[in-house]
Subunit: 361 residues, 2 copies
């Protein structure tokens, strides 16, 4: 893939990824954009031992623009977008409303917090990955060639972001569907480069360490082997990847995709493994979209090893899950989940797996 | 308060709490209810080291019935409800669709899970607390006398549930508002008596233990003292309670209410502290309902010490929070929160506190 790096009118980076090596990307962003003014800080909550990011400039971010004002479509005479060219293949650019940014260095000096709470600028990077110039597609409709290239883009961004100063974890993900708060319908994902190991990843790696100390072996690898052997919760598989509903699933719909070989992050996948992921993931997404009459809202979250620590404990995988628990009902995270972190699933993983395997109904 | 314990047609317990000691509660539940058939199990997720409850019988639970079929209203000739009497003060009864129950003892023998995943019946108890017979009230409109009695009911249930076999934590809470999935609008709360210490409480107490080991003192008490001293995030206070937005708040609206004296659970509050909580909480809820033109959807979660462990580390408090981030916008827990447990707040705790203090706008 050809990679062309350029700059938007306000200084943000934009990167074109092109299958066609002959294409020239020299369109200029002619917009008059306001100077980037970003004040983002993070505070360490001593009660839950977690960093919380405060990004108050994000209140004004773009919310469900009409299709002819979509900021992710190619630029036209009437609509100057985030992508200056009049067409593109796949693009990545810095989010205009980032939660994490290397551009923020100051903390509001008028604010004071009690001693056990720490405050620092929320340094990091938030990127948008636009999967296609076609506004009306969904990821499941991108086709294998394009999805295969998206995998390469994710891997390339993982390497680039991990090399930036102070980055602890690179997190590519896709939010799809109004039901989970997606504000732009044009098919796109995001990448967060965090300055800390995220709370969930931290807990997962603690568990993996305890498991290795007690039982030996890799927790994720042994769980995968168990699911492959039992088969009850497997929804799809090929030579190098398996997709299954985890035995302790929390969400009404939840599928985890693991490569059979332990790799730490997307950069470690072979070409063959990237090919196999592509076909398996498209199969899974098409099964998920067939569950109901309308496409499934979902979150797809790449679990990668932290940049600098515990890489030997980690196991790259993708977790795809949905809040929809029936055609017209969604699961709300109410008192037990939001208040106490105690998850109640109104279904069983075996029922969920059977539902997904069954396909259209 | 007078307490009358009786039984519903399917064997579930119903308890009347009455301010008027002369009232007689002998109405009989004349409904023909199906036998309780509850299969609830819980599985230990070895990756996040958390129990997840699977309650597949709950899929069929009551969902937004019309007002004249409300199951929490007093029974009338046309509507035989969960409360057989034609009026009541405050009642508590066992949930007909419980996530946790001592009635479930069996696990589906056809299901097998990989070795590191544990499965056991999800034993415990789920109760409904109906705050008033008036269908159209909200908690903030109950008035001080009734709220004061609700505090006594919560404390009484905490003692009763903690005494039941295998209960590790008693969690009274209220979910309010369609935006967070409330299926019955009649003013009511719930109590979950968990057979495990919930994940969030477990992590909070680990932090409190680390803090005591490193710095001495109680983490919660020292945070409260810091917030009282700084004042920036305090939204209301009286002689024995303070309400503040925590310095690392996660939700768009979030208020924590702490008694000034460390107590472990609701049973430890003096009469004076219960009186003061009542007036402070009503003040806070009225401020919250004044934020927008429509009442605020919220979750109110009581953090109590576990029944048997780490009681010396715990500090009773109430956490009230909302997903609403603007008059017409709610915060969705998308990729970063749901995928990685990394919270992004589009506001700051200081802005939130100023907003709540300001009251009606």
């Amino acid at each position: 893939m050809k990679k062309t790096t350029t700059t938007l009118a306000d200084g943000r980076e934009l990167i074109y990824y092109d299958a066609d090596a002959s294409v020239v990307r020299d369109a200029v962003d002619a917009r008059e954009l306001p100077e980037l003014h970003v004040v983002s800080e993070m505070r360490h909550d001593p009660i839950l031992d977690e960093w919380v990011v405060m990004a108050s400039h994000r209140q004004g971010r773009t919310f469900m623009p009409p299709t002819n004002r979509c900021p992710l479509c190619p630029t036209t005479a009437d609509n100057a977008t985030e992508i200056p060219d009049d067409d593109y293949d796949i693009v990545v650019f810095e989010n205009r409303f980032p939660s994490l940014t290397h551009r923020s260095d100051e903390l509001d000096p008028t604010v004071t917090v009690p001693a056990p709470v720490e405050r620092v600028p929320a340094r990091g990077r938030c990127e948008v990955v636009v999967f296609t110039s076609d506004h009306d597609r969904s990821f499941s409709q991108l086709g294998p060639d394009r999805v295969r290239r998206v995998v390469d883009v994710w891997a390339d961004r993982t390497a680039a972001l991990a090399a930036m100063p102070g980055i602890a974890q690179v997190f590519p993900f896709e939010n799809r569907g109004i039901e989970i708060g997606v504000t732009l319908t044009h098919p796109h994902g995001q990448i967060y480069a965090f300055p800390f190991v995220t709370p969930r990843t931290g807990r997962m790696l603690e568990s993996a360490r305890r498991y290795r100390d007690r039982h030996g072996g890799n927790l994720f690898a042994n769980l995968l082997a168990g699911e492959q052997r039992l088969g009850d919760r497997v929804v799809a598989a090929n030579e190098t990847w398996t997709a299954f509903v985890p035995a302790a699933a929390r969400w009404p719909i939840e599928v985890h995709l693991y490569p059979h070989r332990r790799v730490e992050d997307l950069t470690g996948l072979t070409d063959g493994e990237r090919d196999d992921f592509t076909s398996l993931y498209l199969d899974v997404l098409q099964k998920l979209d067939a569950l109901y009459e309308t496409p499934l809202p979902y979150i797809a979250a790449w679990h990668q090893a932290p940049v600098r620590q515990d890489r030997d404990l980690a196991y790259l995988h993708l977790e795809v899950f949905s809040v929809r628990r029936a055609a017209d009902k969604i699961k709300y995270l109410a008192g037990t989940e939001s208040g106490m972190g105690a998850w109640i699933n109104d279904s069983t993983p075996e029922q969920i797996a059977a539902l997904i395997r069954r396909g259209p109904r």
